[in-house]
């Protein structure tokens, strides 16, 4: 069956996530329709969901004021997959360490915003990530990126670290990255989050034609 994907589109690099989801689906022979989520009422129809990069203060403000926040929580509670990148990760965390961001608490992690510095410190680098389809390093792009803290005691598993600090985690149906898998043509992270995550429920491809 054809899948419905949602990209939370209140602010950020939405088109890039939409294209990455389409690439990941096409590589697995799945059909997908991507919808941009700017208002409430659309998330319940989505099989999978992405929260993009952008500004976490803006995104958190608008997902709450537009009534999308409780729908994202319900999506994850139903075991459906969510990929949250950079600002999306900050919003999905349990503690953004900043009262300007209202978190969703979907991942048992704290984050430090702009942990690697300002834009002049932003960087790209090959990154070893657990659980990808092969062992090649992932071309990770970090833009004013957060780092993940306080994973101890929670259920989040660390998939990748940079300079000793976790930058990718997985907990049940949720995958969070501090970097931007949507900015490169490599769709392995989207594949991992949406199609190779055994803890997430995605409608299967039916054999009947």
């Amino acid at each position: 069956m054809s899948l419905t994907a949602g990209v939370v589109a209140v602010q950020g690099d939405v088109a890039e996530h939409a294209a990455a989801i389409e690439r990941a689906a096409a590589a697995r022979g799945r059909e997908v329709t991507v919808r941009e989520i700017r208002e409430s009422g659309l998330v319940p129809d989505c099989d999978l969901l992405a929260m993009p990069g952008g500004e976490s203060t803006t995104i958190s403000r608008l997902v709450h004021s537009e009534g999308i926040a409780p729908e994202i929580r319900a999506h994850v509670e139903a075991g459906k997959p969510l990929l949250a990148t950079c600002a999306g990760l900050i919003v999905a965390s349990s503690d953004p360490n900043d009262d300007r961001v209202e978190e969703l608490g979907l991942l048992d992690v704290g984050v430090e915003r702009n942990a690697f510095g300002r834009q002049r410190d932003s960087f790209e680098a090959p990154l070893a990530v657990d659980g990808l389809a092969d062992d090649d390093p992932y071309p990770a792009v970090f833009i004013r990126a957060p780092a993940i803290d306080n994973v101890d005691g929670g259920d989040a598993a660390v998939l990748a670290s940079w300079d000793g600090r976790p930058v990718a985690v997985k907990q049940g149906p949720v995958v969070g990255t501090a970097f931007h898998p949507e900015l490169t043509p490599d769709s392995r992270i989207h594949g991992l989050a949406f199609f190779e995550n055994e803890a997430a429920t995605v409608p299967v491809l039916e054999d009947a034609q």
Binding site: T58, R113, R120
Partner: protein
Amino acid sequence: MTDETETDLEELRRGTDLVKRGFAQMQKGGVIMDVVNKEQARIAEDAGAVAVMALEAVPADIRKRGGVARMADPADVEEIVSEVSIPVMGKSRIGHTKEAQILEAVGVDMIDESEVLTPADDAYHIDKRDFTAPFVCGARNLGEVLRRIDEGAAMIRTKGEAGTGDVNQAVHHQRTIKGAIRELEGMKHEEREAYAREIEAPAELVHETAEMGRLPVVNFAAGGIATPADAALMMHHECDGIFVGSGIFGAENPPAMAEAIVEATNNWDDPERLAEISKNLGKGMKGDANADLPEEEKMQGRGV
């Protein structure tokens, strides 16, 4: 656990096109607000701005005051940088490499090489490829857009006519740029080559734009946006996001206006929401109609 020996910290690269353009992509769908001090920066961040533009005076005041308009005092820029958690941008004069380096040194996240300030160089823009910080530049047409990208700009905005509160020129520039891209898409290879010569743009970028059917970098609206409806109009014209200069702190109730423009940018395609958002905001900035502006007072002709 990840085997960390596989990740080599030495392979880190800063200031690449991907990292610079990526920063601009993260601003999409957002509103970037002009601020002149940390109090305004706080209001902007609280209203949901994706970034603030630190400058000495908003364009409407620069227009009124006359004289030479320069980069803001770096101490004021630093104060704004430490006040907010969102990115801070700063304006340098066109061609003023040193102002841009100073802004980079105090930690601004993006430099606006801006026609709102008095140009420092009549013939050349800054060689933006030498910088780690990304640049945004204004443009009125596709030739200007592609010349700026060729110089290293990671983001483009319409010039509009800054400080007027009249959206007319921003619309005109956006229509001109989009119209040229549509025209390009219908051209054969050799026609695009000739077109590149005509608009004085690198042929390579002309072909890239034609094949993508859009600019290779993010394209924001700027210059004269003063109300939530103006912001929605520019999103309707397929801008990726909005710069607001004098429209917020020149309005009667800046926090309400700022918040309304952020919400209108997200809900640009929903007239009923726009109606609600636009209610009871107090007076907008007074402004000056573009049609009444003498040619010598226009900023948009600076730096082509």
